[in-house]
């Protein structure tokens, strides 16, 4: 194995770990909400963005989405060795969270409240700006940086990562 290929392999595995870390975050936040779904729904209620009647359904939807994406992302990284689709799936979830937090800046809740991110309650006052930035940065890393990099690295280390047109033009 050449030195360049070894470095590519290490980088590729490192990126896989990064995506796996994102999956772990989703799994933890989903699990925390799963253990107290009514509290999460209550927190969404206090945001005042979603009609009250819908909040229990939205709460369960978010929980299911986080767990499903977390598990599938982990599976793609560990079993399928396909970092790109895993990164895109997790990135879309973080994008959704960033949009929601951004909406909370534009349409602030009637009273200061928590975000419910990892089961936090209404008394854990949320900093919506920080939450928006955090999720947007994670989404950008997963959606833009990772797939581009992994395409290139995957080609170098010889994995089954399907190349994109962008990656093809680089070779």
């Amino acid at each position: 194995m050449t030195r360049g290929r070894l470095i590519s392999l290490i980088l590729y595995e490192g990126l896989g770990l990064l995506v796996a870390a994102a999956a772990l975050v989703l799994l933890y936040t989903g699990s925390a909400k799963l253990l107290a779904p009514s509290a999460f729904a209550e927190t969404i209620n206090t945001h005042g963005l979603i009609p009250r009647d819908l909040t229990p359904h939205v709460a369960w939807g978010v929980i299911a989405m986080e767990l499903a994406v977390g598990i599938s992302t982990l599976w793609l990284v560990l079993a399928e060795r396909r970092i790109k689709p895993a990164a895109i799936g997790a990135g879309l979830v973080f994008t959704a969270f960033a949009w929601y937090a951004g909406a909370m800046i534009l349409f602030p809740p009637p009273a200061p409240t928590g975000c419910g991110c990892a089961g936090s309650g209404v008394t854990d006052i949320a900093d919506w700006g920080a939450i928006t930035w955090r999720n947007a940065a994670t989404a950008a890393l997963l959606l833009v940086a990772l797939p581009l990099t992994t395409n290139r690295l995957a080609a170098q280390v010889g994995t089954s990562e399907p190349p994109t047109p962008c990656a093809q033009t680089r070779h």
């Binding site: 799994l27 933890y28 925390a32 799963l34 253990l35 509290a39 598990i71 560990l78 079993a79």
Partner: protein, 200 residues
């Protein structure tokens, strides 16, 4: 007392009776309740009635935001009592009423949260202090908690301790540990399956 809105209300056996019912002239408003909570709409309980029922100062508070009627409830330390704050039509009248229980000549600017609009939101800590409460819980007309404000350190502790059980919000540390354990179990399961798949 200033002219505040007094709804048509008949009270049956409210004093010292946690199972009391509040009824209106047009019919029953709410059935038997558990201790300290009365099934009231935000504008339907007379402060005089509450004052009589709880034997504590009750303040009429104009707490109106975006045409949403609010019900303010005060939670008392070492008690299951929950105090309902009613609304007043006129903030000047409310101030007069507040001062009748207060320890000084309060003005609107002292206690008002927002003076740029035509409605007045009273500072929760002030309201809580005035009513000698440790914490105040603001809820909407459907009794959904909107915010909780501590007025004393004891109130802050009380909120921290009670929010998971009493208010149903937030997660206790044990639940966070369970979430961590659950995450670990999922990772182990997925990791094992991945390892088995790659091995075969």
């Amino acid at each position: 007392m200033a002219s505040v809105v007094m709804p048509q209300l008949i009270v049956k056996g409210i004093e010292n009776d946690p199972n009391a019912s509040l009824v209106t002239e047009s019919g029953e408003l709410g059935g038997p309740t558990y201790v300290g909570e009365y099934p009231t709409g935000s504008r339907l309980v007379s402060s005089e009635i509450l004052k009589s029922a709880f034997n504590v100062p009750v303040v009429r508070v104009y707490y109106d935001l975006d045409d949403q009627q609010r019900l303010a409830r005060i939670r008392y330390e070492n008690s299951d009592r929950v105090q309902n704050f009613d609304l007043a039509e006129d903030s000047t009248a409310a101030i007069s009423y507040v001062n009748s229980f207060g320890d000084g000549a309060w003005t609107l600017s002292d206690i008002r949260m927002n003076d740029s609009t035509d409605f007045d939101i009273f500072k929760p800590d002030y309201v809580a202090k005035l009513a000698q409460a440790d914490a105040i819980e603001f809820a909407d007309s459907k009794r959904t908690t909107q915010s909780i404000t501590a007025a004393t350190p004891e109130g802050a502790n009380r909120i921290e301790q009670a929010r998971d059980e009493t208010l149903g919000t937030g997660l206790p540390q044990s639940t966070k540990r369970f979430a961590l354990i659950l995450t670990g179990l999922i990772v182990i399961a997925v990791g094992s399956l991945a390892w088995w798949k790659n091995r075969s």
